[in-house]
């Protein structure tokens, strides 16, 4: 499935409004914010339709799967938004991850667990906030807010940069790091937490990882960073997205795609957006002197003009060698 889907679920006293734009959306947060009530209303509407007094507006069907028969339920659902409430242990299973991969459905999962088998974005982790009270003339209104949405604009001069990637992305950040900065590859996102808590690295530490698939690692590292002023996170969609976003390929279609990637990234083809951005960069640069390979960075990327252009597209508050 493609695109952003706007959902409004409403009863006499409650209203939920949310946008779903990727194959995996997570809803978590405090108790009693209305997560289960949202799932309940969708379940009721699916079972009994308009007889419930609930209205559900969306350009694709919304469905619920739950319990031990989730696989059978899911087999009958296509091109839909599938909600899964808290209390369904299958969401952390490999079987479920396999079902999400190549699915034409989008999934909205209510859980506080870190789902390591799923590559979900740090941008698609939400809480619910509400306004209004029962019995007022307007329904109590609920909307999503991004839990990890705020990016610090404090200046960061890293003493250590830990890069998730071990290939082209690592090559790039090692090259642009200041002389006094140690740049290390974590060789995978699951290793970052243990590296940080090992006590080996001191001073200002900057973690650079692919935000498009870092959702499962985010909560723990965010908690660590809240307790450590010297730990900072930079989570672009992916390294390939940084290159595409820097406009070094000077391609009008690319600019259009980056404005609304959800209109181009089919859930059944790309398990997460960073895989799409890699494929896009390889495809777009193929016949150019900037031909991209994930394994190592083409020497032409080290040209001063190219490097400066890429650095210019990075957050201005992170101090690298060439923008000192």
């Amino acid at each position: 499935m493609l695109g952003k889907h706007h959902i409004i679920v409403q009863s006499a006293h409650l209203k939920y409004e949310l946008d779903v734009r990727r194959n995996i959306t997570i809803i978590k947060g405090d108790s009693a914010t209305g997560k289960t009530t949202l799932a309940d209303m969708i379940r009721e509407y699916v079972l009994n339709g308009m007889d419930t007094g609930i209205s559900l507006s969306c350009d694709v069907p919304c469905r619920i799967i739950e319990g031990n028969t989730w696989k059978e339920q899911l087999m009958a659902i296509n091109q839909s938004i599938v909600f899964i409430d808290e209390g369904n242990s299958f969401v952390s299973s490999k079987d479920f991850a396999n079902a999400v991969r190549e699915s034409t459905n989008y999934f909205v999962i209510i859980t506080r667990e870190n789902l390591h088998a799923l590559p979900y974005s740090v941008k698609e982790i939400y809480g619910i906030r509400s306004s209004g009270k029962y019995n007022q003339s307007t329904p109590v209104y609920h909307e999503l807010y991004s839990i990890y949405g705020t990016i610090s604009d404090e200046e960061i001069t890293p003493d250590v940069i830990i890069v998730e990637d071990s290939n082209a992305g690592y090559d790039f950040f090692k090259y642009v790091s200041s002389l006094n900065t140690e740049c290390i590859s974590a060789k995978g996102k699951d290793n970052i937490f243990n590296m940080i808590t090992s006590g080996k690295y001191s001073g200002n530490v900057l973690i650079i990882a692919d935000g498009a698939a870092f959702g499962a690692q985010m909560a723990n590292l965010y908690d660590l960073s809240e307790n450590n002023d010297e730990l900072n996170l930079y989570l672009p969609e992916s390294f390939e997205w940084i290159i595409l976003d820097s406009d070094i390929l000077n391609d009008a279609e690319l600019r259009r795609i980056l404005q609304s990637p959800e209109d181009y990234i089919a859930s059944e083809k790309y398990f997460s957006w960073e895989r799409y951005f890699t494929a896009l960069l390889i495809n777009k640069s193929n016949d150019t002197y900037l031909k991209y390979s994930k394994h190592s960075l083409n020497n032409n990327y080290y040209n001063d003009k190219i490097i400066m252009k890429i650095i210019a597209s990075l957050p201005a508050n992170i101090i690298f060698k060439n923008n000192l």
């Binding site: 947060g29 108790s31 009693a32 009530t37 209390g87 506080r112 909560a219 908690d223 660590l224």
Partner: protein
Amino acid sequence: MLNVYFGDMAEAIYNTSAYFKYNYEREWITEPKIMEMIKDIDKSVVLGNGAIDSPVLGVIAPTSLSGGVKTLILIDKISDKVFNASNCGDNCAKWLLNIGEEKDVTINLRHIMKFPSEDFKIKIINENKIVSNMKELIPIAGRYV
């Protein structure tokens, strides 16, 4: 003391709402501490053992309380089972500590809950260690969730 096992725990009751629905006792709901939990987390007032006034949902049955409150009640009232406390949000954390101050209780967490005070006492069963603040808790818990 509050004992926490982080990560998958086969014997823990995962779907606490389902367990609550078929196992709660009506008289629990009108106990002062439970009424206080319901007021604090769900912002709801207990009218009687079968009716609760919610500011969002109107008058509801105990089975329609939030997943967090239902899990807290189970943890408080049923001591021979371990419940999945990841059905509780951070706004339930102080109540877990409160229960742990009154009795020895074991819970299962599949995420890192933000406990509020700086001087709590939590035993992390996975490593048989007692921690007293989040700075100590996160590096250990993060290895398991």
